[in-house]
Amino acid sequence: MTVSRDNSLAVYRGIKAAGVKSISALPETWLVYLLQLAEDDPDMHLIEVAKEEEAIGIAAGAYMAGEPHILLMQNHGFLAAINGIVSLAMSYRIPLCMLIALRGHWGEPYPWHTQGGIHTEPVLRALGIPFEYARDPAKVGLQISQAVTFAKSSLSPVALLLDRELMED
C-alpha cells in the first residue's frame, strides 16, 4: 500500500477551491503529499505544529483574523486535541474545519492504529461534531467546500474523515 498521489492532489484542489488560505497540520504518512503541495504553494500559509492541540489555537487566531483555515491531522491527533476543541473552539464558537486521516479502520494492518480508529467516530458523536467520510476522489472537493461552509455557518467544529479508500492506492 502506498499513499495516493493523485487523490492527495484531488484533496488539495478541494482545499484551494474552498478558498482556504492557511493550514495548520501535524505531518503524518497519509498527509505527506498534501503537505508538500501546501509547502510549495506560495499563496498558502502552512504551520506545522509539534502537537495537534496547538493547531486549535492557530485556527482560532486565523478565524478571528478573517483568514479561511483548515486543520490537517491524524485521528490520534484529533484525540490529543480534544481539550482545545472543547475549551477553546466550542466555548468561543470558533469554527474548525478538520480534515482527519482515519487510520486504524477497515483494512488496517497495524495494531497500534486500531484503537484510535475504532474510537474516532464514537468520540466525534459524543462531542456532537458533525462528520462525513471522504472515500471518493471525485466527491472530496465538494465535501471539503461543504465542510468549510458548514463550520463557518454553524460556528462549530466539523470533521471530514479521510478514509483508506481515498488516501491509499
Binding site: 488560505k21 492557511s22 495548520s24 500559509h45 504551520i47 506545522e48 505544529v49 509539534a50 502537537k51 492541540e53 496547538e54 493547531a55 486549535i56 489555537g57 492557530i58 485556527a59 482560532a60 487566531g61 486565523a62 478565524y63 478571528m64 483574523a65 478573517g66 483568514e67 483555515h69 481539550n83 482545545g84 475549551s87 477553546l88 466555548s91 468561543y92 464558537r93 470558533i94 460556528l155
Partner: protein
C-alpha cells in the same frame, strides 16, 4: 515584581496591539485596567494563548501581537516554543509571567518554583530568538521596549510574585470576545 504592575506599565503600549491573555488573574488584571476591542482573554484551554498569537501573527503580518502568558500555561504546551521558534513571526511578542505557581487554579507550585525549571532557557533551547529574562520592573520595561522596537519575534520571561486580584468577574461572554475581536480586525481593514 507584581504582574499587575507590569501589565499596568505596559498598558499604554497595548492600545493598538492585539493582545491575547491567559485565564484567571492575568486576564482580570488587564480587564480591570480597561477592556478594549483588541483584547482577547483565553479563559481556559491552558497553553493555547501563544498558539492563538501565532495564528493571528501569521494571518495579519501588519498587526503587532502581544501574548500575555504564564508559566503554568506554557508548561502545558512546551511544544509551542518550538513551533514559535520555527515560524518566528516578527510581529509577535511573547511575554511569560512566571510566578512559579498555578495561582488561578489553586496556588499549587509549578515546575518553575525555586528556579528548578528555567523557561527562558527552554525557549532559547527551542530556538526562539530574542529571549529576555526580567527579575525587576526596570529589566521588564527595558526588555519590552527592545522587543517592541525590534523586527523579530521576542520572548520575555518575567519573574513575578504569586499574587492576583482580590476579585474575579468580567462582563463579556466567551463567544462575544471572539466575535468582537473578529469584528475589530475587519473594521481596521488589514
Amino acid at each position: 515584581m507584581k504582574r499587575s504592575d507590569c501589565i499596568k506599565a505596559l498598558y499604554p503600549e497595548l492600545q493598538d496591539r492585539l493582545v491575547v491573555t491567559i485565564m484567571g488573574a492575568c486576564a482580570q488584571e488587564l480587564y480591570d485596567l480597561g477592556d478594549r476591542d483588541n483584547f482577547f482573554y483565553l479563559q481556559h484551554a491552558m497553553g493555547l494563548a501563544s498558539s492563538i498569537g501565532l495564528g493571528l501573527a501569521t494571518s495579519l503580518p501588519k498587526q503587532k501581537i502581544v501574548v500575555l502568558d504564564g508559566d503554568g500555561s506554557v508548561l502545558m504546551n512546551l511544544g509551542t516554543l518550538a513551533t514559535l521558534a520555527r515560524y518566528r513571526p516578527p510581529n509577535l511578542t511573547h511575554i511569560i509571567f512566571d510566578n512559579g505557581s498555578l495561582l488561578s487554579t489553586g496556588g499549587f507550585a509549578s515546575h518553575t518554583t525555586s528556579g528548578i525549571t528555567d523557561l527562558a532557557a527552554i525557549a532559547r533551547g527551542a530556538g526562539c530568538p530574542n529571549v529576555f529574562s526580567a527579575d525587576n520592573s526596570y529589566q521588564f520595561l527595558e526588555a519590552c521596549a527592545e522587543a517592541f522596537d525590534s523586527h523579530q519575534m521576542s520572548t520575555i520571561v518575567a519573574k513575578v510574585e504569586a499574587v492576583g486580584p482580590d476579585h474575579f468577574g468580567m462582563d463579556i461572554a466567551l463567544p462575544e470576545n471572539a466575535f468582537r475581536l473578529k469584528r475589530y480586525l475587519k473594521s481596521i481593514k488589514n
